[in-house]
Structure formats: C-alpha cells, structure tokens
Amino acid sequence: MKIKIDNLNFSYNKFKVLENIDLKIDKNTITAVSGPSGSGKSTLLTCLNRLWEEYDEALINGNIKAEIEGRLIDIYNKKISVSWLRQKIGMVFQMPNPFPMSIEQNLLFPFRLKTSPFYSKKRINKEIVKALKKVHLYEEVENRTYLPADSLSGGQQQRLCIARALIPSPEILLLDEPTSSLDSNAEKRIEDLLKELKKECTIIIVSHSESQIKRVADHHIHVENGKITKDIKY
C-alpha cells in the first residue's frame, strides 16, 4: 500500500469540500478520481502535496500516510520539508503551465532548488535527456531545447510539464485532468505514457471521462459532494 488516507476533512472558508474521506491506494497503480465539477476531486489531489498551505482559508484535518523512500510517513508532519515532499509527490495541472522560458530552462528548474541534490553539469544533462525520453519528447525537440516552451503545441507542453515533474524522480504522480485541454491524439499519447510510468510511480489522475477511466485505471474512485461514493478495483 502506497497511500493511506484516514478520515480526511477539508473545508475552505468554512465551506465543507471533503468529508470523511477514507482511501487506500496501492503501489504502482493508476487510480482515477471522477465526479461532477465542484465535488472536490481536484482538492483531494492538492491535499496530498500540501499545496493548500499557501492559502489561509483552507482547513485540513485527518490523517494521510504515504510510503516514500521505504518509510511510511505522515504527510502533514510539520517536521517534513514541504519542498522535499513536493518533489517526491509530483503534480501536473489541467492546463499546461510551462514557465515562460526555454524548454531546457523549464527542465533545469527543479535542479536549482535547495532540496535537489547537487549534480554535475553532465549528470544534469543526462537527467534532462532521460526525462524527455520518458515522455517521448526527446525525438521531437532533441537539438532545439533552447526554444521557448510556449512554442510547443498543447500536447507537447503538457508532456513537458510531466517531464518536468518527473525530474526529481517522484514516487507518486498526481495529475489533474491532464488531457482535458488536448485533442484525442495527444490524449492517447499521454494515456499510453501513464501506463508506462506506472511501473516506476504510483499515479493518481483526476478524470471526468468514463472512457478514459476504462482505458487507464486500475482503481476507480468516484467523489460526489465531498464524499466517496464508489471505490472499485479492477
């Protein structure tokens, strides 16, 4: 078991968004979270990487434990560095949000942070190429990583964001409707990508497309009005 959520409650501005969430997620699986808009599915994701700490109006209580680097840790333990946690639990957003810089700069970003170990230039380049290859972008941008990230197509940008999130070798990858702004071709490529990535991370993906869930998910959770209504393992 990779992630265990016990009795998670989340409220924003006193409005209850998530209530009594109990969830167990296994290693190396793809878990899909579905539900009508506003049901709290994206919130569930952002509770896992503590992104809510930037906002004062958010109130979280409950217990979330995850197995990272062999140890079972309590995600909300104050002693754990949030920066480190977020590198181990990566996130990809709904609309691709590459930084307004070159492709290479986007991928260099995680290396600049103080929580990233110090690598030599050679090693850094290797990691970048590795990440690009994983998302199958390498062939497409190979020698032109100096190009601005904005010049890529939507699907490519999203894969770039995934590559960027993969650089710190996360053990859990969170994706919030990653293909909703993409055409079906790009969508298929990303779905195939996720199935490959499953081998090295545990993936949680928010999706509102039944067919997508059927195609990729090993575990399906349906959230409605802040509560889990379906929990199916395939």
Binding site: N49, L51, E54, V82, S83, W84, L85, R86, Q87, G90, M91, F93, M95, N97, P98, F99, P100, M101, Q105, F109, P110, R112, L113, K114, T115, S116, C161, R164, A165, P168
Partner: protein
C-alpha cells in the same frame, strides 16, 4: 409636444438647444486636445532646433569639444554631457538592485502586514518634489561627502548621484512591482508544486518572467535621472569641466541650461542651451521609445 418616456439623463427637447453648446465644447476639447498634443511634441523639438541653429553655424564652434570657456570662445558642451552621464549612471547602478529588492519585498517576501504600507509609502514618496530632495541633500549628504572626501566642498558627482538614486527609486519600484505581480498565478502554482520555496519562486520564476518590465523600468529610471535638474544643480557643484574623481564637481546638461539663462540673448553661450535641450530631448525620447518597445504587449 409629446413627452417621451426616456431615462432621466436625456432631457426634453426644450433644453437641448443650450446643451448643444456643452456638447460642442466637449467635441472641441477632444479633437483640439488630440491635435494640440501631437503638434506640441514636434513643435518643442523644432523650436529648439530653430533657435540653436545660429549656434551651430557660428565660427569655431564645435559643441563636442572638450571645454566650456565662453571668455576664450570655446563653447564645448562635452563636459556637460559627461556630467550628465556621470551623475545619472551611478545613480541608476545604486538604485537598481535596491529598488528590485524593495519591489520583491512588497510583492512577495514581505511580512503580510508590511506589504501594503510598503507600496503605499513608495507611492507617497513619489509625490515628493525633487527640489526638496535636493534641499535636504545639501544639509545631509554634502557635509557627509565633505568629510569622506577629505576636504573639497562636498558638492560633487557623488552627492548628486546618491540623492538622484533615491529620487528615481519610486518610479522603478512601481514598475518592478507591477511586473512581478502580473506573472500568471497558475504558472506560479506550477513552481510551488515542484517544491520551490517562496524565495526560490521569486528568484527563479518571477524575476525571469518579469524581465521585460524590469528592463522598461530601468530605462524609465535612467530617463528620469538624466532629465533631472534641481538635484544636479544644487548638489553637483556646477563647474564646467571634466571631473577627475567622484568627489569633484561637475555640471550636467540640465543644470547648464538653468545656469546660462542669465546670459545675453544673442550670444553663442545662450544658444548653447538650446543645443543641450535638443540632446536631452533626443536621449529621453529614445529611452521612452525603447522602454515602450520592450514593454510592448503588456500595456494596451
């Protein structure tokens, strides 16, 4: 006469006769305002050129010659150009990092209760007249420089630069602050999700993203520094020769114009101020155009 049912602000026919005059007035100021403004810009330059011409056609004139000594017939304004550059550029060098730091504080890293007052303070500071800065500078900075410079009058490039730096900071701080604040929030979230701390986000995402605004702000600050009159007039000493050190006195183009106005109307001395004016006009116009070009796409 039928009374139409209309919203209150459209009045009945009786009074429209009189009101048409107001409408005409409005029309007048709108169109003549536009014409006037566009004409003015060129008129200013043209008049200066017209009045400076005798200067250029005068015998033995070379404005870019090195010395200004009307008595002996040399009217070079090169020392003044040097004076302008030597006061403005150091001011910019001092002000730039500090303004950037302050804007980062007000936009991101500052304590949440201090952020708003921080930007308010700067707005208020930008309404302080330059003559007041210069005046205070005489009593605060000049004695200090006198001490550090081991004698000398204290009226020097250094004094002027220091006070100039404080003068141009609010303008730059605004620009930087606006640029930092307008980086897409969504993109910022991406940085946070990758594990960046707030200061890492500022240094590695916000500032690179705000590059354009930062450049534009620098150009604007430089323009302000080059164009200021009172600070260099009152603090830089006004000797019309090339300064040898930072503690020496110098004269800027702007101060030169102010000082020479007391001379004869037809003398070459006098005409030289128009040459100065033209140079200043061209430089600041260039800076404004470049700043706008860099910033293009951000403002309407």
């Amino acid at each position: 006469m039928q009374k139409k049912i209309v919203p209150g602000y459209i009045l009945s026919e009786n009074r429209e006769q009189i009101l048409n005059i107001y409408n005409l007035f409005l029309k007048f100021i709108i169109f003549s305002g536009a014409i006037l403004s566009s004409v003015l810009i060129f008129l200013i330059l043209l008049i200066m050129i017209f009045l400076a011409l005798p200067f250029f056609s005068h015998e033995g004139i070379s404005i870019f010659s090195g010395s200004w000594n009307p008595v002996s017939g040399s009217y070079g304004i090169a020392p003044m150009i040097a004076g302008t550059v030597l006061t403005a550029v150091p001011a910019l060098i001092i002000a730039f990092p500090l303004s950037l730091g302050y804007s980062v504080f007000a936009a991101e890293t500052g304590n949440r209760y201090l952020k708003k007052p921080a930007i308010l303070l700067i707005r208020a500071a930008s309404s302080i007249p330059t003559v007041v800065y210069a005046f205070a500078g005489i009593f605060i900075i000049v004695p200090l420089i006198r001490k550090i410079g081991h004698g000398g009058s204290g009226y020097s490039i250094l004094s002027a630069s220091l006070v100039l730096a404080v003068l141009i900071s609010p303008t730059m701080i605004f620009f930087f602050y606006d640029s930092l604040k307008s980086v897409n929030k969504y993109t910022q979230q991406g940085a946070l999700a990758l594990g960046a701390s707030k200061s890492e986000k500022v240094l590695f995402l916000l500032i690179p993203s705000a590059k354009r605004g930062i450049f534009a702000g620098v150009f604007l600050g430089l323009g302000r520094a080059l164009g200021d009159t009172m600070i260099s007039l009152m603090l830089a000493g006004n000797s019309a020769s090339f300064p040898d050190s930072a503690f020496e006195s110098a004269r800027t183009l702007t101060a030169h114009i102010a000082l020479v106005m007391a001379a004869d109307y037809d003398s070459p001395e006098f005409r030289s101020v128009f040459a100065c004016g033209i140079i200043l006009y061209l430089i600041t116009a260039f800076l404004s155009i470049t700043a706008r070009y860099i910033y293009k796409g951000r403002i309407q």
